[in-house]
Point group: C2
Chain length 103, copies 2
């Protein structure tokens, strides 16, 4: 039940649904990319990413100064269904805006 509710509460937030869809659409992105694209402060993005990661939707890989987030693979059927459902939503996503200074 705890895992199920962690999964559900992770997507029970409009910002996180958008971030999740953004990563699903753009592939691997780092925190500053999302920060710049969404025009939200870093701590807010970082916190949402942690929740999505802990809920099993994302994986993170650190390279240099950067933390690259992407959809976790393999993804179980239920989370796949959720991603698919989100892809059907009529969401106005920001376009990817690289926010990192020296990549």
């Amino acid at each position: 039940m705890e895992i199920f509710l962690a999964t559900i509460s992770a997507i029970n937030d409009e910002t996180r649904v958008k971030i999740l869809r953004f990563i699903d659409k753009n592939g691997e992105v780092c925190v500053c990319d999302i920060e710049k694209s969404f025009e939200m402060i870093q701590s807010r993005i970082s916190r949402h990413l942690k929740i999505l990661k802990d809920a099993g939707f994302l994986r993170v890989e650190r390279r240099g100064r950067w933390a690259y987030y992407s959809i976790r693979s393999p993804l179980d059927k239920f989370r796949q269904n959720i991603l698919e459902e989100i892809s059907y939503l009529d969401i106005k996503l920001p376009i990817l805006d690289k926010g990192c200074k020296n990549e």
Copy 2:
């Protein structure tokens, strides 16, 4: 997005997940049955049922004094997936205890 989040927030609560599974398992039940089975006060049950109904999981049919709730049919693929996922959870459900005095 509003409909998606209403669906998700409806199942983002342990009590509602249990009630939903209870109805899925037992079929049509009235509010007093759930009240008695779950040993929760009526207003609490009633409120949760309304949320599950508004989120498209349940239908209600009034007969006499009673309001009978059951899984809405037909149910779209996404909500079916959610019900299926909930059915896999290891939940300790109460057994159906008919709470109505004169049915």
